[in-house]
Protein backbone atom coordinates (compact mmCIF):
# COMPACT_ATOMS: atom_id res chain seq x y z
CA UNK A 1 0.00 0.00 0.00
CA UNK A 2 1.44 3.33 -0.97
CA UNK A 3 1.90 6.06 1.60
CA UNK A 4 -0.84 8.10 -0.04
CA UNK A 5 -3.36 5.27 0.25
CA UNK A 6 -2.36 4.73 3.87
CA UNK A 7 -2.95 8.42 4.53
CA UNK A 8 -6.37 8.31 2.90
CA UNK A 9 -7.30 5.38 5.09
CA UNK A 10 -5.93 6.76 8.33
CA UNK A 11 -7.14 10.36 7.95
CA UNK A 12 -10.42 9.62 6.20
CA UNK A 13 -12.22 12.52 7.86
CA UNK A 14 -9.53 15.13 7.23
CA UNK A 15 -9.59 17.45 4.26
CA UNK A 16 -6.59 16.21 2.23
CA UNK A 17 -6.00 17.16 -1.39
CA UNK A 18 -3.85 14.80 -3.45
CA UNK A 19 -2.31 15.83 -6.74
CA UNK A 20 0.58 15.04 -9.01
CA UNK A 21 2.67 17.23 -11.27
CA UNK A 22 5.50 15.59 -13.29
CA UNK A 23 7.02 13.23 -10.69
CA UNK A 24 6.07 15.28 -7.62
CA UNK A 25 3.41 13.62 -5.46
CA UNK A 26 1.78 16.40 -3.49
CA UNK A 27 -0.62 16.51 -0.61
CA UNK A 28 -2.21 19.67 0.76
CA UNK A 29 -3.08 19.17 4.41
CA UNK A 30 -4.89 21.39 6.93
CA UNK A 31 -2.51 23.14 9.34
CA UNK A 32 -4.30 21.67 12.37
CA UNK A 33 -3.53 18.12 11.23
CA UNK A 34 -0.02 18.86 9.96
CA UNK A 35 2.03 17.49 12.83
CA UNK A 36 -0.10 14.39 13.18
CA UNK A 37 0.23 13.58 9.48
CA UNK A 38 3.97 14.19 9.36
CA UNK A 39 4.46 12.07 12.47
CA UNK A 40 2.43 9.30 10.86
CA UNK A 41 4.50 9.50 7.69
CA UNK A 42 7.71 9.33 9.64
CA UNK A 43 6.88 6.72 12.25
CA UNK A 44 4.48 4.40 10.48
CA UNK A 45 5.46 4.95 6.87
CA UNK A 46 9.13 5.11 5.94
CA UNK A 47 9.79 8.78 5.31
CA UNK A 48 12.89 9.10 7.44
CA UNK A 49 14.42 12.21 5.89
CA UNK A 50 13.11 15.76 5.79
CA UNK A 51 14.92 17.23 2.81
CA UNK A 52 13.38 20.66 2.70
CA UNK A 53 11.14 23.10 4.53
CA UNK A 54 10.30 26.28 2.72
CA UNK A 55 7.50 28.81 2.40
CA UNK A 56 5.81 30.77 -0.34
CA UNK A 57 4.04 34.11 0.09
CA UNK A 58 0.92 33.96 -2.09
CA UNK A 59 0.02 37.61 -1.62
CA UNK A 60 0.14 38.48 -5.33
CA UNK A 61 -0.53 35.00 -6.70
CA UNK A 62 -3.50 34.73 -9.03
CA UNK A 63 -6.37 32.80 -7.49
CA UNK A 64 -4.72 32.20 -4.11
CA UNK A 65 -6.96 32.15 -1.06
CA UNK A 66 -4.38 31.94 1.69
CA UNK A 67 -1.39 34.10 2.45
CA UNK A 68 1.44 31.65 3.13
CA UNK A 69 2.09 28.12 1.96
CA UNK A 70 4.63 26.07 3.88
CA UNK A 71 6.16 23.16 2.00
CA UNK A 72 7.79 20.03 3.43
CA UNK A 73 9.67 17.67 1.13
CA UNK A 74 9.95 14.21 2.64
CA UNK A 75 12.26 11.50 1.35
CA UNK A 76 12.35 7.82 2.07
CA UNK A 77 15.94 6.63 2.04
CA UNK A 78 14.81 3.01 1.79
CA UNK A 79 12.48 3.24 -1.21
CA UNK A 80 13.65 6.53 -2.73
CA UNK A 81 10.10 7.96 -2.75
CA UNK A 82 9.42 11.63 -2.29
CA UNK A 83 6.35 13.38 -0.94
CA UNK A 84 5.67 17.10 -1.02
CA UNK A 85 3.41 18.14 1.84
CA UNK A 86 1.95 21.61 1.78
CA UNK A 87 -0.12 23.53 4.28
CA UNK A 88 -1.46 27.06 4.45
CA UNK A 89 -1.25 29.63 7.22
CA UNK A 90 -2.60 33.14 7.40
CA UNK A 91 -2.03 36.55 8.93
CA UNK A 92 -1.97 38.06 11.50
CA UNK A 93 -0.20 35.34 13.51
CA UNK A 94 1.11 32.66 11.14
CA UNK A 95 1.94 29.75 13.42
CA UNK A 96 2.70 26.07 12.80
CA UNK A 97 3.90 23.24 15.01
CA UNK A 98 7.64 22.62 14.77
CA UNK A 99 8.69 19.21 13.45
CA UNK A 100 12.07 19.39 15.15
CA UNK A 101 11.04 16.54 17.42
CA UNK A 102 10.63 14.32 14.35
CA UNK A 103 13.55 15.42 12.18
CA UNK A 104 16.50 17.40 13.45
CA UNK A 105 17.05 18.87 9.99
CA UNK A 106 14.00 21.05 10.67
CA UNK A 107 16.11 23.12 13.09
CA UNK A 108 17.80 25.52 10.69
CA UNK A 109 15.23 25.11 7.92
CA UNK A 110 12.42 26.37 10.18
CA UNK A 111 14.63 29.15 11.46
CA UNK A 112 15.16 30.31 7.90
CA UNK A 113 11.41 30.27 7.18
CA UNK A 114 10.87 32.29 10.34
CA UNK A 115 13.60 34.73 9.39
CA UNK A 116 12.43 35.25 5.82
CA UNK A 117 8.63 35.02 6.20
CA UNK A 118 7.87 35.57 9.86
CA UNK A 119 6.06 32.26 10.25
CA UNK A 120 6.55 31.06 13.82
CA UNK A 121 7.02 27.41 14.75
CA UNK A 122 5.73 26.49 18.18
CA UNK A 123 7.93 24.04 20.04
CA UNK A 124 11.09 24.94 18.16
CA UNK A 125 13.95 24.95 20.68
CA UNK A 126 15.80 27.96 19.31
CA UNK A 127 13.70 30.12 17.02
CA UNK A 128 16.01 33.03 16.30
CA UNK A 129 16.83 34.88 13.10
CA UNK A 130 19.54 33.10 11.20
CA UNK A 131 20.54 34.89 7.99
CA UNK A 132 19.72 38.46 8.94
CA UNK A 133 21.06 40.21 12.07
CA UNK A 134 19.18 39.82 15.36
CA UNK A 135 18.16 43.51 15.36
CA UNK A 136 16.54 43.19 11.94
CA UNK A 137 12.84 43.93 11.63
CA UNK A 138 10.68 42.85 8.71
CA UNK A 139 10.68 39.68 6.67
CA UNK A 140 12.55 40.05 3.36
CA UNK A 141 10.95 37.31 1.27
CA UNK A 142 7.40 38.50 1.88
CA UNK A 143 5.93 40.01 -1.24
CA UNK A 144 5.05 43.26 0.52
CA UNK A 145 8.64 43.86 1.64
CA UNK A 146 9.72 47.15 0.03
CA UNK A 147 12.30 46.84 -2.72
CA UNK A 148 13.21 50.50 -2.79
CA UNK A 149 13.72 53.23 -0.24
CA UNK A 150 15.64 53.57 2.96
CA UNK A 151 15.37 50.32 4.83
CA UNK A 152 16.59 48.67 7.98
CA UNK A 153 20.25 49.05 7.23
CA UNK A 154 19.97 52.81 7.56
CA UNK A 155 18.72 52.48 11.09
CA UNK A 156 21.77 50.62 12.35
CA UNK A 157 23.90 52.68 14.74
CA UNK A 158 27.12 53.80 13.13
CA UNK A 159 30.17 53.42 15.33
CA UNK A 160 32.87 55.99 14.84
CA UNK A 161 36.49 55.31 15.56
CA UNK A 162 36.39 57.50 18.68
CA UNK A 163 33.51 55.53 20.19
CA UNK A 164 34.83 52.05 19.48
Amino acid sequence: MSAEDALKLKFAGADLAFSQFRDNHRIVVPAAKLFEILAFLKNEQHFDMLAEVTAVDYLEYEGAKDRFGVVYVLVSTTSGERLVIKTFVNDPEPLLPSVYSLWKSADWLEREVYDMFGIRFSGHPDLRRILTPDEFTGYPLRKDYPLKGRGERHNFPVLTRAES
Binding site: F21, D48, E52, V71, W103, S105
Partner: protein
Amino acid sequence: MPFEVSDLAELDAPDKEYLWTLNFGPQHPATHTTLRLVLTLDGETVVNAVPHIGYLHSGFEKLGEHLDFNQYVTIVDRMNYISPLHNEISWHHAVEKLLGIELTPRCKYLRTILAELMRIQDHLLNTGTCALDLGGFTAFLYFFQQRELIYDIVETASGQRFHTSYTRVGGVAFDVNNAWVDKVRSFVKGFAAVHAEVHRLLTRNRIFIERVKGIGYLSAEDCINMGVTGPLARASGVLRDLRKDEPYLAYPDLDFKVVAAKDGDCYARYLVRMQEMVESIKIIEQCIENIPEGPVNVDAGGKAVIPAKPSVYRSIEGLIQHFEVMMPNRGFPTPHEEIYAATESPNGELGYYIVSDGTPRAYRARTRPPSYIHFAVFPQIIKNHQLSDVVAVLGSLNIIAAELDR
Protein backbone atom coordinates in the same frame (compact mmCIF):
# COMPACT_ATOMS: atom_id res chain seq x y z
CA MET B 1 22.12 20.30 18.27
CA PRO B 2 20.54 23.66 18.58
CA PHE B 3 21.90 26.16 20.97
CA GLU B 4 19.70 25.95 24.03
CA VAL B 5 19.31 28.39 26.84
CA SER B 6 19.71 25.60 29.38
CA ASP B 7 23.13 24.80 27.90
CA LEU B 8 24.20 28.35 28.41
CA ALA B 9 23.02 28.48 32.03
CA GLU B 10 24.98 25.33 32.71
CA LEU B 11 28.10 26.75 31.11
CA ASP B 12 27.69 30.05 32.98
CA ALA B 13 27.52 28.41 36.42
CA PRO B 14 30.07 29.67 39.01
CA ASP B 15 31.96 26.38 39.09
CA LYS B 16 32.41 26.55 35.31
CA GLU B 17 34.39 29.77 35.41
CA TYR B 18 37.46 28.08 33.98
CA LEU B 19 35.67 27.70 30.63
CA TRP B 20 36.58 30.34 28.14
CA THR B 21 35.09 31.54 24.91
CA LEU B 22 36.89 31.76 21.61
CA ASN B 23 35.61 33.62 18.61
CA PHE B 24 36.54 31.76 15.42
CA GLY B 25 36.02 33.83 12.30
CA PRO B 26 34.34 35.60 10.51
CA GLN B 27 37.72 36.26 8.94
CA HIS B 28 39.89 33.24 9.43
CA PRO B 29 41.97 31.35 6.84
CA ALA B 30 40.47 28.00 7.82
CA THR B 31 36.86 29.05 7.40
CA HIS B 32 37.77 29.69 3.73
CA THR B 33 34.84 32.05 3.50
CA THR B 34 32.95 34.28 5.87
CA LEU B 35 31.35 32.43 8.74
CA ARG B 36 31.71 32.69 12.47
CA LEU B 37 31.83 30.18 15.29
CA VAL B 38 31.69 30.93 18.98
CA LEU B 39 33.48 28.09 20.73
CA THR B 40 33.36 27.39 24.46
CA LEU B 41 36.57 25.70 25.46
CA ASP B 42 37.64 23.60 28.42
CA GLY B 43 41.38 23.81 28.00
CA GLU B 44 41.69 22.69 24.41
CA THR B 45 38.47 20.69 24.32
CA VAL B 46 35.44 22.18 22.61
CA VAL B 47 32.46 21.98 24.97
CA ASN B 48 30.01 23.93 22.88
CA ALA B 49 29.97 25.58 19.48
CA VAL B 50 27.47 28.13 18.24
CA PRO B 51 27.62 28.98 14.53
CA HIS B 52 26.64 32.47 13.39
CA ILE B 53 25.95 32.75 9.70
CA GLY B 54 24.49 35.30 7.33
CA TYR B 55 27.55 37.44 6.65
CA LEU B 56 27.21 36.81 2.92
CA HIS B 57 23.42 36.96 2.76
CA SER B 58 22.62 38.89 -0.40
CA GLY B 59 19.02 38.04 -1.16
CA PHE B 60 19.60 35.65 -4.07
CA GLU B 61 16.15 34.11 -3.69
CA LYS B 62 14.52 37.52 -3.86
CA LEU B 63 16.50 38.22 -7.04
CA GLY B 64 15.17 34.96 -8.43
CA GLU B 65 11.68 36.38 -8.27
CA HIS B 66 12.63 39.32 -10.45
CA LEU B 67 14.86 37.74 -13.10
CA ASP B 68 13.59 35.37 -15.73
CA PHE B 69 14.54 31.70 -15.97
CA ASN B 70 17.51 32.42 -18.24
CA GLN B 71 18.76 35.49 -16.40
CA TYR B 72 18.74 33.88 -12.96
CA VAL B 73 21.40 31.45 -14.11
CA THR B 74 23.97 34.20 -13.56
CA ILE B 75 22.96 34.31 -9.91
CA VAL B 76 22.86 30.57 -9.16
CA ASP B 77 26.42 30.48 -10.51
CA ARG B 78 27.53 32.50 -7.56
CA MET B 79 26.05 30.26 -4.89
CA ASN B 80 28.46 27.37 -4.86
CA TYR B 81 31.30 29.06 -6.68
CA ILE B 82 33.53 26.02 -6.30
CA SER B 83 31.48 24.18 -8.92
CA PRO B 84 29.47 26.96 -10.59
CA LEU B 85 28.38 25.05 -13.67
CA HIS B 86 26.71 22.37 -11.61
CA ASN B 87 24.40 24.94 -10.04
CA GLU B 88 23.39 26.08 -13.50
CA ILE B 89 22.67 22.52 -14.56
CA SER B 90 20.58 21.96 -11.44
CA TRP B 91 18.66 25.19 -11.90
CA HIS B 92 17.79 24.51 -15.51
CA HIS B 93 17.03 20.91 -14.67
CA ALA B 94 14.30 22.20 -12.36
CA VAL B 95 13.07 24.78 -14.88
CA GLU B 96 12.90 22.23 -17.68
CA LYS B 97 11.02 19.86 -15.44
CA LEU B 98 8.54 22.64 -14.72
CA LEU B 99 8.10 23.45 -18.41
CA GLY B 100 8.13 19.79 -19.46
CA ILE B 101 11.06 20.17 -21.87
CA GLU B 102 12.93 17.02 -22.88
CA LEU B 103 16.55 17.80 -23.77
CA THR B 104 18.27 16.60 -26.93
CA PRO B 105 20.62 13.60 -26.50
CA ARG B 106 23.65 15.72 -27.35
CA CYS B 107 22.80 18.27 -24.69
CA LYS B 108 22.24 15.54 -22.11
CA TYR B 109 25.69 14.11 -22.72
CA LEU B 110 27.33 17.51 -22.82
CA ARG B 111 25.74 18.54 -19.53
CA THR B 112 26.68 15.20 -17.97
CA ILE B 113 30.33 15.69 -18.89
CA LEU B 114 30.29 19.21 -17.48
CA ALA B 115 28.51 18.11 -14.31
CA GLU B 116 31.12 15.45 -13.69
CA LEU B 117 33.96 17.87 -14.42
CA MET B 118 32.41 20.12 -11.79
CA ARG B 119 32.24 17.25 -9.34
CA ILE B 120 35.94 16.64 -9.87
CA GLN B 121 36.63 20.35 -9.56
CA ASP B 122 34.74 20.56 -6.26
CA HIS B 123 36.40 17.48 -4.79
CA LEU B 124 39.82 18.66 -5.93
CA LEU B 125 39.44 21.90 -4.05
CA ASN B 126 37.92 20.27 -1.02
CA THR B 127 40.51 17.53 -0.54
CA GLY B 128 43.28 19.95 -1.51
CA THR B 129 42.37 22.62 1.00
CA CYS B 130 41.51 20.06 3.66
CA ALA B 131 45.10 18.82 3.35
CA LEU B 132 46.36 22.40 3.23
CA ASP B 133 44.65 23.30 6.50
CA LEU B 134 46.24 20.27 8.10
CA GLY B 135 49.69 21.19 6.87
CA GLY B 136 49.96 19.28 3.58
CA PHE B 137 50.80 21.96 1.05
CA THR B 138 51.94 19.78 -1.86
CA ALA B 139 48.65 18.00 -2.53
CA PHE B 140 46.91 21.36 -2.66
CA LEU B 141 49.26 22.60 -5.39
CA TYR B 142 48.97 19.42 -7.45
CA PHE B 143 45.21 19.55 -7.30
CA PHE B 144 44.96 23.22 -8.07
CA GLN B 145 46.94 22.67 -11.21
CA GLN B 146 44.29 20.15 -12.32
CA ARG B 147 41.57 22.67 -11.52
CA GLU B 148 43.31 25.05 -13.89
CA LEU B 149 42.92 22.49 -16.68
CA ILE B 150 39.19 22.22 -15.94
CA TYR B 151 38.89 26.02 -16.08
CA ASP B 152 40.47 25.82 -19.52
CA ILE B 153 37.97 23.22 -20.69
CA VAL B 154 35.06 25.27 -19.39
CA GLU B 155 36.47 28.42 -20.96
CA THR B 156 36.71 26.71 -24.34
CA ALA B 157 33.06 25.72 -24.13
CA SER B 158 31.53 28.88 -22.70
CA GLY B 159 34.03 31.71 -22.99
CA GLN B 160 34.28 32.10 -19.21
CA ARG B 161 36.58 30.41 -16.77
CA PHE B 162 34.51 30.62 -13.67
CA HIS B 163 31.02 32.06 -13.59
CA THR B 164 30.10 30.64 -16.92
CA SER B 165 26.31 31.21 -17.21
CA TYR B 166 26.49 28.49 -19.84
CA THR B 167 23.17 26.65 -19.68
CA ARG B 168 19.91 27.96 -21.12
CA VAL B 169 16.36 26.71 -20.93
CA GLY B 170 16.33 23.76 -23.30
CA GLY B 171 20.05 23.62 -23.98
CA VAL B 172 23.31 25.50 -23.63
CA ALA B 173 24.58 28.84 -24.91
CA PHE B 174 27.01 27.44 -27.50
CA ASP B 175 27.71 24.01 -28.88
CA VAL B 176 31.18 22.50 -28.39
CA ASN B 177 33.62 21.53 -31.14
CA ASN B 178 36.25 18.84 -31.67
CA ALA B 179 38.99 20.93 -30.08
CA TRP B 180 36.97 20.89 -26.86
CA VAL B 181 36.55 17.13 -27.05
CA ASP B 182 40.31 16.74 -27.46
CA LYS B 183 40.89 18.96 -24.43
CA VAL B 184 38.63 16.81 -22.27
CA ARG B 185 40.35 13.68 -23.57
CA SER B 186 43.79 14.97 -22.69
CA PHE B 187 42.58 16.05 -19.24
CA VAL B 188 41.17 12.58 -18.59
CA LYS B 189 44.44 11.02 -19.72
CA GLY B 190 46.60 13.12 -17.46
CA PHE B 191 44.38 13.13 -14.39
CA ALA B 192 44.99 9.54 -13.25
CA ALA B 193 48.69 10.17 -12.69
CA VAL B 194 48.10 13.25 -10.51
CA HIS B 195 45.34 11.49 -8.60
CA ALA B 196 47.66 8.55 -7.90
CA GLU B 197 50.37 10.92 -6.78
CA VAL B 198 48.12 12.63 -4.26
CA HIS B 199 46.97 9.19 -3.09
CA ARG B 200 50.58 8.40 -2.33
CA LEU B 201 51.05 11.76 -0.62
CA LEU B 202 48.04 11.62 1.70
CA THR B 203 46.17 8.34 1.96
CA ARG B 204 48.80 6.57 4.03
CA ASN B 205 50.50 9.64 5.38
CA ARG B 206 50.66 9.22 9.13
CA ILE B 207 50.52 12.93 9.94
CA PHE B 208 47.42 13.36 7.81
CA ILE B 209 45.70 10.24 9.14
CA GLU B 210 46.26 11.19 12.76
CA ARG B 211 44.56 14.52 12.14
CA VAL B 212 41.49 13.07 10.39
CA LYS B 213 40.91 9.48 11.48
CA GLY B 214 38.12 9.14 14.04
CA ILE B 215 37.46 12.90 13.92
CA GLY B 216 34.00 14.34 13.31
CA TYR B 217 32.06 11.09 13.48
CA LEU B 218 28.53 11.13 12.10
CA SER B 219 26.37 8.01 12.25
CA ALA B 220 24.13 6.89 9.40
CA GLU B 221 20.98 7.48 11.50
CA ASP B 222 22.06 11.03 12.32
CA CYS B 223 22.81 11.67 8.66
CA ILE B 224 19.30 10.68 7.63
CA ASN B 225 17.63 12.46 10.52
CA MET B 226 19.57 15.66 9.96
CA GLY B 227 19.03 15.67 6.20
CA VAL B 228 22.70 15.17 5.33
CA THR B 229 23.25 14.04 1.73
CA GLY B 230 26.03 13.63 -0.78
CA PRO B 231 29.55 12.46 0.00
CA LEU B 232 29.08 13.19 3.71
CA ALA B 233 26.15 10.78 3.98
CA ARG B 234 27.83 8.19 1.78
CA ALA B 235 30.92 8.32 4.00
CA SER B 236 28.62 7.29 6.87
CA GLY B 237 27.15 4.39 4.93
CA VAL B 238 23.93 5.95 3.60
CA LEU B 239 23.73 4.54 0.08
CA ARG B 240 21.93 7.40 -1.55
CA ASP B 241 22.91 9.04 -4.81
CA LEU B 242 20.34 10.88 -6.89
CA ARG B 243 22.24 9.98 -10.04
CA LYS B 244 21.12 6.39 -9.39
CA ASP B 245 17.93 6.93 -7.36
CA GLU B 246 16.28 9.56 -9.55
CA PRO B 247 18.28 9.35 -12.78
CA TYR B 248 18.44 12.49 -14.89
CA LEU B 249 20.52 13.67 -17.89
CA ALA B 250 22.50 10.79 -19.40
CA TYR B 251 23.10 8.93 -16.13
CA PRO B 252 20.73 6.01 -16.85
CA ASP B 253 22.91 5.02 -19.84
CA LEU B 254 26.19 5.09 -17.95
CA ASP B 255 28.08 2.55 -15.95
CA PHE B 256 29.40 3.86 -12.65
CA LYS B 257 29.45 2.92 -8.99
CA VAL B 258 28.16 4.77 -5.94
CA VAL B 259 31.11 5.22 -3.61
CA ALA B 260 30.46 4.74 0.09
CA ALA B 261 32.31 4.09 3.32
CA LYS B 262 31.29 2.97 6.78
CA ASP B 263 33.40 4.94 9.22
CA GLY B 264 31.68 8.31 8.95
CA ASP B 265 34.73 10.31 10.02
CA CYS B 266 36.80 12.92 8.19
CA TYR B 267 39.10 10.26 6.80
CA ALA B 268 36.16 8.32 5.31
CA ARG B 269 34.91 11.53 3.71
CA TYR B 270 38.34 12.13 2.22
CA LEU B 271 38.41 8.58 0.82
CA VAL B 272 34.89 8.84 -0.60
CA ARG B 273 35.73 12.08 -2.36
CA MET B 274 38.97 10.67 -3.76
CA GLN B 275 37.19 7.62 -5.13
CA GLU B 276 34.28 9.65 -6.50
CA MET B 277 36.75 11.52 -8.68
CA VAL B 278 37.82 8.20 -10.20
CA GLU B 279 34.18 7.32 -10.89
CA SER B 280 33.59 10.75 -12.42
CA ILE B 281 36.55 10.23 -14.73
CA LYS B 282 34.99 6.90 -15.75
CA ILE B 283 31.72 8.66 -16.56
CA ILE B 284 33.48 11.33 -18.61
CA GLU B 285 35.42 8.67 -20.52
CA GLN B 286 32.18 6.92 -21.45
CA CYS B 287 30.42 10.15 -22.43
CA ILE B 288 33.17 11.83 -24.40
CA GLU B 289 33.52 8.91 -26.81
CA ASN B 290 29.75 8.67 -27.29
CA ILE B 291 28.53 12.26 -27.62
CA PRO B 292 25.60 11.96 -30.03
CA GLU B 293 25.53 14.14 -33.14
CA GLY B 294 22.66 16.48 -33.82
CA PRO B 295 21.39 19.75 -32.44
CA VAL B 296 22.38 20.74 -28.92
CA ASN B 297 19.32 22.89 -28.22
CA VAL B 298 15.72 21.84 -28.24
CA ASP B 299 13.88 22.99 -31.36
CA ALA B 300 12.97 26.63 -30.90
CA GLY B 301 9.39 25.90 -31.94
CA GLY B 302 8.87 25.32 -28.25
CA LYS B 303 8.43 28.95 -27.20
CA ALA B 304 10.74 28.97 -24.20
CA VAL B 305 13.98 28.29 -26.06
CA ILE B 306 16.38 30.87 -27.44
CA PRO B 307 16.81 30.16 -31.18
CA ALA B 308 20.22 29.53 -32.78
CA LYS B 309 22.08 32.67 -33.80
CA PRO B 310 22.16 31.95 -37.59
CA SER B 311 18.38 31.68 -37.64
CA VAL B 312 18.07 34.95 -35.72
CA TYR B 313 20.25 36.76 -38.26
CA ARG B 314 18.84 35.15 -41.40
CA SER B 315 15.13 34.49 -40.85
CA ILE B 316 12.22 36.55 -39.65
CA GLU B 317 10.80 33.66 -37.58
CA GLY B 318 14.08 33.32 -35.71
CA LEU B 319 14.22 37.04 -35.03
CA ILE B 320 10.65 37.12 -33.73
CA GLN B 321 11.33 34.12 -31.51
CA HIS B 322 14.49 35.77 -30.17
CA PHE B 323 12.55 38.92 -29.29
CA GLU B 324 9.74 36.92 -27.70
CA VAL B 325 12.21 35.24 -25.34
CA MET B 326 14.52 38.17 -24.66
CA MET B 327 12.33 41.25 -24.30
CA PRO B 328 11.23 41.92 -20.72
CA ASN B 329 7.63 42.70 -21.66
CA ARG B 330 7.14 39.58 -23.85
CA GLY B 331 8.23 36.23 -22.50
CA PHE B 332 6.79 32.76 -22.88
CA PRO B 333 3.88 31.11 -21.09
CA THR B 334 4.66 28.75 -18.22
CA PRO B 335 2.37 26.38 -16.34
CA HIS B 336 0.56 27.68 -13.26
CA GLU B 337 2.33 25.11 -11.09
CA GLU B 338 4.92 24.37 -8.44
CA ILE B 339 7.73 21.88 -8.59
CA TYR B 340 10.57 20.54 -6.50
CA ALA B 341 13.47 19.13 -8.50
CA ALA B 342 16.84 18.04 -7.18
CA THR B 343 20.13 16.87 -8.60
CA GLU B 344 23.18 15.30 -7.02
CA SER B 345 25.58 18.21 -6.76
CA PRO B 346 29.18 17.57 -5.65
CA ASN B 347 28.13 18.63 -2.18
CA GLY B 348 24.86 16.73 -1.86
CA GLU B 349 21.26 17.18 -2.87
CA LEU B 350 20.88 20.56 -4.55
CA GLY B 351 17.17 21.18 -5.01
CA TYR B 352 15.07 24.00 -6.36
CA TYR B 353 11.47 24.64 -5.43
CA ILE B 354 9.95 26.78 -8.15
CA VAL B 355 6.52 28.35 -8.00
CA SER B 356 5.44 29.63 -11.39
CA ASP B 357 2.56 32.03 -12.01
CA GLY B 358 2.37 31.79 -15.78
CA THR B 359 5.11 34.34 -16.55
CA PRO B 360 8.72 33.49 -17.45
CA ARG B 361 9.79 34.72 -14.01
CA ALA B 362 9.61 32.43 -11.02
CA TYR B 363 7.07 33.55 -8.42
CA ARG B 364 9.31 31.90 -5.86
CA ALA B 365 12.72 30.38 -6.52
CA ARG B 366 13.85 28.51 -3.46
CA THR B 367 17.24 26.82 -3.31
CA ARG B 368 17.82 23.86 -1.04
CA PRO B 369 21.52 24.42 -0.42
CA PRO B 370 23.45 21.38 0.82
CA SER B 371 25.99 23.54 2.68
CA TYR B 372 23.23 25.04 4.82
CA ILE B 373 21.95 21.64 5.92
CA HIS B 374 25.47 20.34 6.50
CA PHE B 375 26.62 23.26 8.60
CA ALA B 376 23.71 22.73 10.99
CA VAL B 377 25.36 19.40 11.88
CA PHE B 378 28.64 21.03 12.87
CA PRO B 379 27.91 21.88 16.55
CA GLN B 380 26.95 18.28 17.23
CA ILE B 381 29.95 16.60 15.64
CA ILE B 382 32.57 19.00 17.02
CA LYS B 383 31.59 18.47 20.68
CA ASN B 384 34.38 17.01 22.84
CA HIS B 385 36.95 17.38 20.09
CA GLN B 386 40.17 19.36 20.31
CA LEU B 387 40.36 22.94 19.06
CA SER B 388 42.67 21.86 16.24
CA ASP B 389 40.00 19.44 14.99
CA VAL B 390 37.66 22.34 14.20
CA VAL B 391 39.73 22.99 11.11
CA ALA B 392 39.71 19.35 10.03
CA VAL B 393 35.94 19.02 10.46
CA LEU B 394 35.17 22.32 8.73
CA GLY B 395 37.35 21.23 5.84
CA SER B 396 35.65 17.88 5.49
CA LEU B 397 32.13 19.35 5.58
CA ASN B 398 32.94 21.54 2.57
CA ILE B 399 30.97 24.60 3.67
CA ILE B 400 30.68 27.22 0.94
CA ALA B 401 29.46 30.37 2.65
CA ALA B 402 27.98 31.96 -0.47
CA GLU B 403 25.68 28.96 -0.77
CA LEU B 404 25.17 28.83 2.99
CA ASP B 405 23.85 32.40 3.15
CA ARG B 406 22.64 33.06 -0.39
